[in-house]
Each structure stands twice: as C-alpha cells, then as structure tokens.
Amino acid sequence: MLKIENLQATVADKPILKGLSLTINAGEIHAIMGPNGAGKSTLGYTLGGRPGYEVTGGSALLGDQDLFALAPHERAAAGLFLGFQYPVEIPGVSFVQFLREAANAQRQVRGEAPLSGGEFLKLAREKAGLLRMDMDMLKRPVNVGFSGGEKKRAEMVQMGILDPKLAILDETDSGLDIDALRICGEGINAIMRKPDKAVLLITHYQRLLDYVKPDFVHVLAAGRIVKSGGADLALRLEEEGYEAVVQETAA
C-alpha cells in the first residue's frame, strides 16, 4: 500500500526527515509515536505535498504511484487522506459544497460518474451519523466556530465521505475529551479497518490506541524510525518514556 524508502525532507532548508523507511501493507494499522520535534507532522505533510516541505531524497510509493510526482489533489485522487492536526477554517465555504466538489473531483480523476446532490447528501448523512455529528453542522462554513473536538470529528466525517485507501491521521487525538476520543476511534475503525485499506496514526499518546489497536508501532526520533514493534511497544513507551526506549536502541 505505502512504501517509503530512505525519505529525506527539509523545512525552510532545515533537514527534518533523515532517511526514514516504512512499509505499510493493506489491512494494517500503524502508529508512529515520538517526542516533540522528531518529525512526525513533517512526515504527514511531506506525504500530503504541503508547500514548503521539500523532499531532498528517497521515495514514497502509494500502490504503484510515485507520490512525489503528484500534486496534492492528485495524491488525494490516488487514495491518500491527510487528517490535519489543526484543521483550517474557511469562512464562507460550506462543508457540504466543498466536500461534494472534492468527492466529485476525485471521482472524475478515477473515471467515475459524479455523485448527484441527493446521493452526496445520503452519503454525508451516513458518515456524519458514524461520528455522531449533526448534519446541520456540515451546512456551516468549513470548521468556522467549531470546537477542537468538533473539528477532529469533522475530519473523520470527511475521511468517511472521501473513502481513501490510506489515511494518515496527524494527532487526531489532540484536543479531544474522553467521549470524543472514543467516537473518533470508533469512526476510524468503522471507516478504515478493512482488508483493502490502511492507516498511519501519528500520535503522542497511547490513549487513541486503546480504541484503534495498531498492528505495528514505530518510534520516530531525530528524523528516523529508531524502533518498531507491536501494540505492546506503545504501552512500554507510555510507561518508560521515549528517552529510555530510544537510549536502549542507541546502546
């Protein structure tokens, strides 16, 4: 599904990712954990194609497509979804209008027929329901006036509607209260835990992983993956801290 090899990337000429390799197969859920400044968000943005995140070496394949040869909207059409740590507010543009255009833009690239207004609303209502979000909220301007938790749930609704192959979710758990955390976790499972899909969770904490059980956990430090393991690695990190685990690897 996703094969990253020796990825190097800079932000404002400063090297952040320094030879990161990671393979994610269909049906798998991976978590990347690590201390602040390790490059976790940079990994998500670099794969998403955010301007200012420059690839200086290495490769990333989504299926058989070279991600770095594609513009951000083409990556989306190829099946990539990037869940933002800080979803952007866009005054005057409603979720419904924006998501219908986005879904149909993706469908056009894939040679599929566009969704009619009715079909789209049915789909949106179903996915909003999964995240216990009132449909009226999707008629409001994108993220404007939403609480932190509402923004994250709206991200998951978008993921449900756009139906990606691979979701990279950047700190979806930050800013969530306990109930919203559970709802988001269940939403991720309902939408993405399928044999033909995969998820990369970027997170600081174990708590989201209580709901979305990862098949693999990786520790990112100083721009590289320094340790990989199963779900139990996240528990160990929670108990012993990043430093102890990273030190042990270096030794």
Binding site: G48, G49, R50, P51, A71, P72, H73, R75, A76, A77, L82, F84, P87, V88, E89, I90, P91, G92, V93, Q97, F98, L99, E101, A102, A103, A105, Q106, V109, P141, Q158, L162
Partner: protein
C-alpha cells in the same frame, strides 16, 4: 449635478488611478439621478460584464426614512468606473455591496461619496475586489457626516485580493465628520489567498483552480448577501472568476 465638460487629469483626487486615455473614449459622463421620497424604498443593480470601457455616475438622494439597496458587479470592462454619490436624509438607510473582478491590463474603480445630512441615518458599504494579471483595482470612498447629523452609523468594509503580485490594488477610505454622536467603522485590507486554506482544500482532492475559485466565491459573496438579485449576481461573478483563474 451637472455634466462636467473638461476631461479630468490624474491630478484630480477622484481620478488619481483612472485610465485617462480610456476615460476619454467615454467622456463626458452623464449623471444618472435617483431620488427616493420619504419613507420609500428603492434598489438598483449595476452589472457591467461587457469588455468595452464604461464610466457611470449615479447620484442618489434619500428622503427621510428612505431606504436604498445598491449592488454593483464590475467584471469584464477594459476600463470600468462606477462613481456613486449618496445623500442621506434623517433616518435614511443605504446599502452598497460591490465586487470588481479584473485581469490582464484592465483598470476598474469604484468611487463613492456618502453624505449623512440628517439625524440617525445608516450606511453600510462592502467592497470586494479580485485582481489577476497586471490589472488595477481601486476603491476611493468618502463618508461625510455633516454638522448636526448626530446618530449617524456608517460602515465601510473594503478588501482586495491579489491573485498575482503583478496586480495593483488601491484603497482610500476617508471619513470627514462634523457631528458629535457618530459611529463610523471602516476596515481596509489588501491580501492574497490563504495558502493554508488552499492546501487544505487541495488535500481533499480539489484542483488548484477549484480551490481558489471556492475561496474567492466566498470572498465575493459577502458583497451580495441579502441582495434582491443575489443568485444572478453570484452566477455572473462566478463566470468571470472562472475566466480569470
């Protein structure tokens, strides 16, 4: 108002950014007079979407308690000048929502003079300008609150969006106040599309042109919200936006 016969130069404050050569082709400008009697309501939609140079001057007088809703869409002319003078009597209410969209070498300008002559009159102006290529977009707006016009509430919101660094936006909001009890708010900003917002939209699958168009539609919509012809104005603005992007 009479027709001015001599072609102005750029030394005239109200023609400082005009395309004088183009202005000459449509000179002189005949003033269109509109008077709304006390207690009456009126509305006007000025839509200029042809490519020809155009210059209009509308003078509106609002009697006691009269209301007027003016919407302007200037999107297409090689040179487009819309000048609006408004005189508000006691308790009168004036709304202006205007959008100008330009590209290439086009020069568009909106020049307003809103005079609050009586007590407790209200005026609200929203001007949105979108500029691509080497176009020039100008808004010159004067609000004059005359002696004794207490209770005046005058608002001006002026924003311009530059799609390319080669375009030029001029904005000159002016307030001249001779009364004591006056609320006058004005905001003025020239900027570019929010890069974060664009990336967010594109990361969901919108092409760069679609993402820009969506954000600009929202930007322009503010000028037409609540207009009697809101849908028609929005559709015409959208058509021009798509041509510009």
């Amino acid at each position: 108002m009479n027709v001015a016969l001599a072609l102005p130069t750029r030394k005239h404050e109200n023609f400082r950014y005009s395309d004088i050569a183009a202005l000459e082709t449509v000179w002189p400008i005949v003033t269109e007079e509109i008077a709304i009697a006390a207690g009456e309501e009126g509305a006007l939609q000025i839509v200029e979407t042809g490519a020809e140079a155009v210059a209009r001057h509308v003078a509106i007088t609002l009697g006691k308690g009269a209301k007027f809703d003016l919407r302007v869409l200037s999107a297409g002319p090689s040179y487009g000048r819309i000048a609006i003078d408004v005189r508000l009597g006691e308790g009168a209410d004036f709304t202006l929502g205007a959008a100008q969209l330009a590209t290439g070498e086009e020069t568009l300008e909106i020049v307003t003079e809103v005079a609050h002559a009586g007590l407790n009159a209200t005026s609200a102006q929203i001007i949105r300008t979108v500029l691509a290529g080497k176009s020039v977009g100008t808004y010159l707006g004067r609000i004059a609150v005359e002696r004794g016009a207490d209770g005046t509430d005058a608002e001006q919101s002026v924003r311009a969006m530059l799609l390319e660094r080669t375009a030029t936006a001029n904005a000159r909001p002016e307030l001249e106040i001779y009364a004591d009890d006056v609320k006058a708010a004005h905001g003025c900003a020239v900027g570019e599309l929010d890069a974060q917002g664009l990336f967010y939209l594109m990361s969901r699958g919108l092409t760069p042109a679609q993402a820009k168009r969506l954000m600009l539609q929202a930007f322009i919509a503010e000028a037409f919200t609540g207009a009697p012809g809101e849908d028609e104005l929005s559709d015409l603005a959208l058509a021009r936006l798509e041509a510009i992007l």
